[in-house]
Structures are given as structure tokens and as C-alpha cells.
């Protein structure tokens, strides 16, 4: 009996291309094109007008800064969490491992309400901070907390398999050759982990910019202060201004795409360097 092996690289124009085009059209391309053409409805000047608006500009600024801050926090928190999960044994490890996925499955509005309860002035954590005169809920700090919550599984779940794959010998030989723990980490481990960390952080960042459900509860939604971009989209929809809503969405999309693109480039360079 002979087993036929087909090379992956062979070009399949039949079913494979058809399926790919069909599903990506139905799920991604057509809706996005719809978005694009819908926002063109108000014309280029209309779109520009949207972005000269003070409120939209400050929401744009807020969404991207809190997204960035929370992504950086997630980079550290997520990496630490993944490292502990892979390298250490402790009771209920499997349970905590499962817990990481919770933000993926939990309706974000539920997360938002729960976080607001805890971090508002009457909540368990919030009341402690209130004594020091620090307000968490209804300020950008609260938004960052919500975004850290929804973003951190992205980092954990992208870095975790890479840490698992790291050969133990790599570290051991580094140590044998006289490297300090810090040198081992910085010169041996980090170059291996770098691309996946970047990918996870990038995804967490992109997710943060678009997050609505959990943030509207904790942010306070004050225009110019704690109003995020997705909320502005909702307010436009509420006024039946579909074009303005879609043009804000379009800019968010393009910006996110730009960041993802940069991150992908960096990732590629990092992995090439490794090879």
C-alpha cells in the first residue's frame, strides 16, 4: 500500500480558494466594505468634519492612550502570569489556568458592572483608595483597569505555548557558561519570547480600543474627560447618524490595522533575527 503525500505548497484553485473567498467575504470583507462605503456617504469633507470635532478628538486621544497604557500593563502582567503557569507547580493550577479565559467568555457588561462595584467609592477596593483621595471608578484609571481585565488573556494565551516550547537546556547551558539569571533572561530567553509577547500585546491593544461593554459602566462617560470612542459611535447611532458612526469606526479600524501591521512587521523582523 502506498500512501500518497500531497505537498502543501501546491496551488489549489478549486474548493480551497472558493471556501476561503466565500467565508472571508461573508464574515470579513463584505461587512468591512459596507462600513467603508457607508461612511463615504457623507463625503470626504464630512469625514474630515468628524475629526475636527473637539469631542471626537478627545475621545480618540483617550481611547488610544488608555488602550496603550493597559496594553503595556498587560504585557507585564500577562507575561508574569504565563511564566508562573508554565514553570511552577502549585495547588489548583488547572483551575487558575482555566480562569484566564474568563474575560473571553464573560459578557463584558457583566465584567464592567462587577468592576465598577468593586472600584467605586463604596466598593471594597475603591473605598480603601478613596481614603487616600484617589478615585478609581469614573476616571481614566478605572477604564485602564477594565481594559487590563479584558486584554490580559490575549497576552497569556499567546506567550504560554512559546514558554512551554522553550528547551530547558537553553537556560541550563547559559547558566553553565556563567551567565547571571538576568543575563540568561535578557540575552537567551527574551529574544525567543519577544515576537509572541509583541503579538499578544498588539491584540490586547487592538481589543482595548474597541471595547465598549465593560468600559461604559466604569468610565462615567463625561465628554472630553472619560468618554471613549465606541461610546461616541453609539451616540451617533442613537441619533440615526449612521454615516458619522461608521466613519468613526472606519478611523478606529484603520488605526488598529496600522498598529497591527507595524507589530506584525516587528514580529517578523524579530523572528528573522532569531533564525
Amino acid at each position: 500500500m502506498q500512501i500518497e503525500t500531497r505537498p502543501y505548497k501546491k496551488i489549489h484553485l478549486g474548493i480551497s480558494l472558493g471556501l476561503t473567498v466565500f467565508y472571508s467575504s461573508a464574515v470579513v470583507i463584505i461587512p468591512l466594505l459596507g462600513l467603508f462605503f457607508h461612511s463615504l456617504g457623507i463625503g470626504m469633507t464630512g469625514i474630515l468634519e468628524v475629526f475636527t470635532d473637539e469631542r471626537i478628538r478627545s475621545a480618540l486621544y483617550l481611547s488610544f492612550t488608555v488602550g496603550f497604557v493597559s496594553a503595556i500593563l498587560n504585557l507585564f502582567i500577562g507575561f508574569l502570569f504565563a511564566w508562573v503557569l508554565v514553570r511552577y507547580q502549585f495547588p489548583f493550577k488547572k483551575f487558575f489556568d482555566t480562569l484566564v479565559d474568563l474575560p473571553f467568555t464573560l459578557p463584558t457588561a457583566v465584567a464592567g458592572i462587577a468592576l465598577t462595584t468593586i472600584y467605586s467609592q463604596t466598593g471594597i477596593v475603591g473605598s480603601a483608595f478613596a481614603k487616600w483621595g484617589i478615585q478609581i471608578a469614573y476616571t481614566p484609571i478605572g477604564i485602564v483597569i477594565a481594559l487590563v481585565f479584558i486584554g490580559f488573556p490575549f497576552v497569556v494565551r499567546t506567550v504560554q505555548p512559546v514558554i512551554e516550547e522553550l528547551p530547558k537546556e537553553l537556560e541550563e547551558s547559559a547558566r553553565c557558561l556563567g551567565a547571571t539569571p538576568f543575563q540568561t533572561f535578557y540575552k537567551v530567553l527574551l529574544p525567543e519570547l519577544w515576537p509572541s509577547l509583541l503579538a499578544g500585546t498588539g491584540m490586547a491593544f487592538a481589543r482595548s480600543i474597541g471595547e465598549y461593554g465593560s468600559v461604559v459602566f466604569i468610565s462615567g462617560n463625561l465628554p472630553g474627560k472619560t468618554e471613549i470612542l465606541p461610546l461616541l459611535i453609539v451616540t451617533k447611532l442613537e441619533q440615526y447618524e449612521y454615516e458619522k458612526a461608521t466613519s468613526i469606526a472606519l478611523v478606529m479600524l484603520l488605526t488598529s490595522f496600522f498598529f497591527m501591521f507595524i507589530i506584525n512587521l516587528l514580529q517578523e523582523r524579530a523572528s528573522k533575527k532569531l533564525a
Partner: protein, 345 residues
């Protein structure tokens, strides 16, 4: 080996087709809405649960026919948008006539003269905007003038996302306009009000939670029925930390209903839909309405439930010389007064 592989290739294709057919079957049965759908806004959930029960028993007695009514609740504007985009509602009851007007103008599912089809401009009940304060009322809030003073922290939802919040806004605006007889002063008044606002939730219920559970703010501006519901809730859990304050004057918040004529006709529900909405204007309907803290329009029922609804001077939108269309354009649309309030801040 070849035969088996041929067989295998054959079998999946059949099962794929079968499962797709099956899938389509279950999907369409899930989404085909044979029944009767009522699309409404948030605070009417409990009201219509009771209305439906009574109406359906009555309908069965009269016509010997049984059916069920499905309810959909959400923010008023969001619900209107869902109907415009194809949610097959037979009747709608929303927080503002502007939202029903929008369905009429954007989808043609409702005639533009819908307000003439039922009594009282298709408005079976109304409510008003009042204050909820903490029990001690240490800031001595009695009327609208007290809540624009510096140092008062106000909770109200965002007029851009909430129909109820637009009533709140217009109540404050109307009070000032009638008192100072000047549009400019009225705008300054709402400006001061929103400068005192510390949290702008997206809906009325969210604001109630912020005020009652998170204990933020000195005063909550809200629907009368929402305030009474919050008091009821407190009473049931044995707490007593809130107090309702009636300002000297407020707005008559009219919340209309309409048959979605085109959809109801297509679904063969026109007769039921019309009877359903007419029921709201009957004595029984009005009694249930009063029970759920909405103000009934029937004078007799209003009289018998008067102790629930203290007398306060109510002005309507037309008393301010506005229609929803002009109010929307002037105050809430992009570049309107509400936007300007936050620009200068």
C-alpha cells in the same frame, strides 16, 4: 482501498448537504416570527407583563383565540433603530414620539399620521421628571434652582444615548425658560446643571444604579416611575435611604404607542395589534398603568390614584414652543446646545 476512499468521499458530501438543510431548517424556525411582538423601552417591562396577561385572557374570552405576546425592551432609540433595520414588531411603545416619527420617516412601516389613530395623540400614559435624594437631604434640594448651585453633584443619563435623559434635560430647560423668560438664561441653566453632573450613564437604569448602589451624587434626576420603583426596591430589602422630591414644576413626559401597520398587516396581526393598543385606553388598562407608577390619562382613574401622583405643575413640549423635531435639532443633534456645553468646559 480505492473503493473505501470513494465511499468516504461520497458520504461526507451527503452528510454535509443533510446537515446544511437541517441547519437551515432549525435556523428558519428559530427566526421566523409567527407570534406577536411588542417592542418597548426599558422601564415598561413590568407594566407590559401585566398588561399582556390581562389582555390575553380578555381576548380569549371574546374571540376564543389564544396567542402569546413577546416583549422586547431596551433603550428607546436603540429599539426604534432595531425596528427600522427589520425587527418585526407589531406594536411599539417608546419613550419619545421622536423615535416613532423616525421609524415612520425612515422605514415607512408606520404612517406619518400615526398620532391621530388612537386617543390622546396615541399616548395612553405619561410620566414626569422628578428628583431622588438621600434621606437626610443635607444639601436641602427642593427645586430645580437648588441642583444647579455649585458643589451639588448631579446624576443623570446622557441625552445623546437615552430618551429619558432628553426628558430630564428638557425639564430643566423648560423650568428655566418659563421662569426667566429667556432662552439664553435657560441654556445657561442647563449648562450649570451639566457642569454639576459627575457621571453620565448611557441609560436611566444605569444612572439609578450609580446613584442608589454606588452612592455617587447628591441628586438623581429621573422618571417618576423609576424613582418609585427604586423606593419600592429599597422597601423590599428593608432599607430606607432615599427620598423622592417633587420640584415645583416639571415636564409632562409623554410616551406614545403605535401599531407598526405594515409589519402587523403582513403578519396578519393588525386586528390584534389595534385591539391591544386600544386596551391601554380602557379602564382596566389604565388601572394597571397607574399601578405601575405611570400616570393614567383617564380622569377617573387618575383621581382614584391621586395620592400616588402628587400634583405638580406640568408643562408640555409644545408649551415651550418646541416639537421633538426642533428640540432634537436645537439641543441634542451634533453641534447643538448639549455639545456646546461640553465644548466650553
Amino acid at each position: 482501498m480505492k473503493k473505501i476512499s470513494q465511499f468516504l468521499q461520497f458520504k461526507p458530501s451527503i452528510s454535509v448537504i443533510l446537515s446544511i438543510l437541517l441547519g437551515i431548517g432549525t435556523f428558519s424556525s428559530l427566526f421566523s416570527q409567527e407570534s406577536f411582538l411588542h417592542v418597548s423601552f426599558d422601564p415598561t417591562r413590568e407594566l407590559y407583563e401585566e398588561i399582556n396577561k390581562t389582555f390575553l385572557t380578555q381576548w380569549k374570552q371574546k374571540k376564543g383565540e389564544e396567542f402569546s405576546i413577546q416583549q422586547s425592551h431596551g433603550g428607546s432609540g436603540k429599539q426604534a433603530r432595531a425596528v427600522i433595520d427589520g425587527l418585526e414588531a407589531d406594536v411599539v411603545s417608546l419613550a419619545l414620539s421622536y423615535d416613532i416619527d423616525s421609524i415612520a420617516s425612515k422605514s415607512k412601516l408606520i404612517e406619518s399620521n400615526w398620532q391621530t389613530k388612537l386617543p390622546n395623540k396615541s399616548t395612553p400614559y405619561y410620566s414626569t421628571i422628578i428628583f431622588l435624594v438621600r434621606k437626610s437631604n443635607s444639601k436641602k434640594i427642593k427645586d430645580w434652582d437648588d441642583i444647579v448651585k455649585p458643589g451639588i453633584s448631579v446624576i443623570t443619563p446622557n441625552p445623546k444615548t437615552s430618551g429619558g435623559a432628553r426628558w430630564n434635560y428638557l425639564a430643566a430647560y423648560g423650568y428655566a425658560k418659563r421662569k426667566y423668560k429667556s432662552d439664553e438664561k435657560a441654556i445657561d441653566f442647563v449648562k450649570a446643571l451639566f457642569q454639576n453632573t459627575s457621571v453620565l450613564d448611557t441609560g436611566a437604569r444605569g444612572s439609578t444604579t450609580t446613584f442608589v448602589n454606588r452612592k455617587i451624587g447628591d441628586v438623581l434626576i429621573t422618571w417618576e416611575n423609576e424613582a418609585k420603583l427604586a423606593l419600592d426596591e429599597e422597601k423590599r430589602s428593608g432599607k430606607n435611604s432615599l427620598e423622592v422630591i417633587y420640584p415645583s414644576e416639571s415636564i409632562k413626559a409623554e410616551t406614545p404607542v403605535a401599531v407598526v401597520t405594515k409589519t402587523a398587516t403582513e403578519k396578519g396581526n393588525l386586528e390584534k395589534a389595534t385591539a391591544y393598543l386600544e386596551f391601554l385606553f380602557t379602564k382596566e388598562g389604565q388601572t394597571i398603568i397607574a399601578k405601575h407608577f405611570f400616570r393614567p390619562i383617564d380622569p377617573a382613574i387618575a383621581k382614584s390614584s391621586a395620592k400616588e401622583f402628587p400634583n405638580l405643575k406640568l408643562f408640555s413640549l409644545s408649551d415651550l414652543g418646541e416639537t421633538w423635531e426642533t428640540a432634537q435639532k436645537k439641543h441634542f443633534a451634533d453641534g447643538g446646545v448639549f455639545d456646546a456645553i461640553y465644548k466650553t468646559k
